[in-house]
Symmetry: C2
Subunit: 375 residues, 2 copies
């Protein structure tokens, strides 16, 4: 969807002549009352469910949750997935040309915030003829968007589902983001964010950024269970077994020794092939900047007073990136405002990644909540 | 101290003609029974206490614990600090020339392990005329050395003090080390570890490595307390205050916005000025490889059966790098062997860094334990 009118941004800048990639699933009912907006996190897109014809590996990132008969049932709801402004999966972003200069935006792409995304999504809903949302749902950074929807456009949201999220980032969260950003920005192939015109990609930095991120998405327990201290077997290596059947260490500092290293390198390599470096900076910054309580001297209850929606808040016990304690802050602030809020703390081993996984208790909660939503 | 005889290493390699930098404090008594060896962690050295004449900022890294009248009392004990082989503070390491080739070792320096360090330390004690240790003490990687002493040279250690340590690294620990190593090894200035001959230093990688490390040394709580979401004030910036006295965001993806970013960048910059990149790879690998239970099919109790020392094990409640649960594994394995072990779990907010800080309860435990050590 093309938007010609300028969108005013939180930074004071404006952006005009932009495009948002989106997908819809199911049918908007006659009363236009069954729309559900799905907000994505760092590296996802508008492609939330289903597969593209002839591309069996093109499964949507939340396909286990969204579809016919699934917890977010597309037989009942009209589901909208949208790629956010500044991302790199079809919507206007840093790799596109600034219409005013004809030059690729690169690092000059305007800094966008969670609130800016919500405003852009609202314009998309206008264009789609959707006056109000039955629900807005998102996990992690997507949960921040769901929360922001209830504050920016309170009259347009009946239910907000905030999963594995937080009312703002802690210093530690910001610190991990900053490590990732520094890895990218100090890669000599970054060229201050204008690498496109040099025909290179700061892959070293992207790899490091992804490796750091990946560690924080998983729990210590699940990493130990999946990888532990297992060594990576080398195809060309006759493995001596000097100790009780254990393969020998190779004693290397630069090559892979442990399976966890191999896994992380693989994740980093994959990511560096498809993700835009400037988008990574923008999206981690949107995470850092989100802080609705900021305009209320840190008082989250005051910040959420304007919300009219009913809420489902979900957290996961082993999520140390967005811990249950952070979700409870949201719940408390909502209760302070006498809002209707359901809260589920799911005992799951998978860390932050749990919000993307098919967990019966988690999906059961989402299904039960949505079944209750009247259209 | 110069050593001409080859030291056989765990990897099967040997290293000869090496030097160890060391310092001693206090006097060895006539019975040679009051020696305490202090083992250092990743980025520390033999300079454990005191200041060098005319250099007021040269304080030893464990000066709050070690000195006259301090918990490790140099009026009573003969304290030995030693810089480990492969480190970069005076002992032979990757920046020195391989005597066999005349060429700087660089990435070809042999991979050294905790056990290798312990063996090298034992030779230093031989040269100093110290037959047995009243105690060996270390924190983090230093605690691994203290534990390894009781296994490699059980008859030479009467007390082992293992602080903020673990019987091996978890997958998550290894993962963080691997991110740091990849940041260094993929820095174009690393040149496969032979950057010395190119007259450059892989500072970008060292900075990222230190930033990642630093996050894991602190607790989430202490980072929030020290930095929280505070913005960095810019000297040249007239700070507008649009919201309830809060300074405005600058909306930048590459410049510093938050105090925590400024702090981490500063730590990274400092580190990159003095620490050797190859040493960083070697020392993080020594951490990864340490795993005494490995030769016993993972049975830590079997691995520790050979130990004869008495033990003090100390952990800190908010240390998520080497959590109390890991220390308790050591305690349990020692108790399985009916060893005498004291265990203190210190409720401290500072995370892994707590072992370096002056905490009254922690230092009280160390003092009380050492007071009981007979000479």
């Amino acid at each position: 969807m093309r938007f010609d009118a300028d969108l005013p941004l939180q930074s004071g800048q404006r952006i005009g002549g932009y495009t948002l990639a989106y997908e819809t699933y199911g049918e908007l009912n006659a009363a236009r009352s069954n729309a559900v907006l799905v907000c994505h996190a760092l590296n996802a897109s508008h492609h939330v469910a289903g597969v593209y014809e002839g591309q069996p590996r093109s499964e949507g990132w939340w396909d286990n949750l969204i579809g016919p008969g699934k917890p977010l049932d597309t037989d009942r709801f009209f589901v909208i997935g949208v790629n956010n402004l500044g991302s790199c999966f079809g919507s206007t972003g840093p790799m596109h040309a600034n219409p005013q200069t004809g030059r690729v935006w690169g690092a000059d792409f305007p800094v966008v915030t969670v609130e800016d995304w919500v405003d852009a999504q609202a314009r998309l809903l206008d264009a789609l003829g959707v006056p109000t949302l039955a629900a807005v749902i998102g996990g992690s950074l997507g949960g921040m968007q769901a929360l922001a929807w209830t504050l920016r456009h309170p009259e347009r949201v009946r239910h907000a589902m905030v999963v594995a999220s937080a009312p703002n980032l802690t210093a530690e969260n910001i610190a991990f983001n900053e490590v990732a950003r520094r890895a990218i920005a100090t890669d000599p192939d970054f060229h201050g964010g204008h690498f496109y015109e040099h025909g290179v990609v700061p892959k070293r930095g992207l790899r490091i950024a992804r490796m750091v991120g990946h560690i924080t998405y998983l729990s210590d327990d699940v990493m130990n269970e999946k990888f532990g201290r297992q060594l990576k077997p080398a195809a060309d290596q006759a493995v001596p077994t000097p100790h009780a059947g254990e393969p020998a260490y190779r004693y290397t500092t630069q090559d892979v020794e442990f399976q966890i290293e191999s896994y992380l390198r693989h994740q980093g390599d994959k990511f560096a092939e498809y993700f835009d470096a400037n988008t990574y900076l923008l999206i981690t910054r949107a995470l850092d900047y989100f802080d609705p309580a900021r305009a209320f001297a840190g008082d989250l209850s005051a910040a959420l007073a304007v919300a009219q929606a009913q809420f489902l808040v979900v957290s996961f016990s082993t999520d140390w990136r967005f811990s249950p304690a952070r979700s409870r802050e949201i719940v408390k602030a909502l209760l302070d405002n006498r809002r209707t809020v359901s809260y589920a703390e799911i005992d799951a081993p998978h860390g932050h990644d749990a919000f993307l996984l098919d967990d019966a208790r988690y999906h059961g909660v989402v299904r039960a909540y949505l079944d209750r939503v009247s259209l």
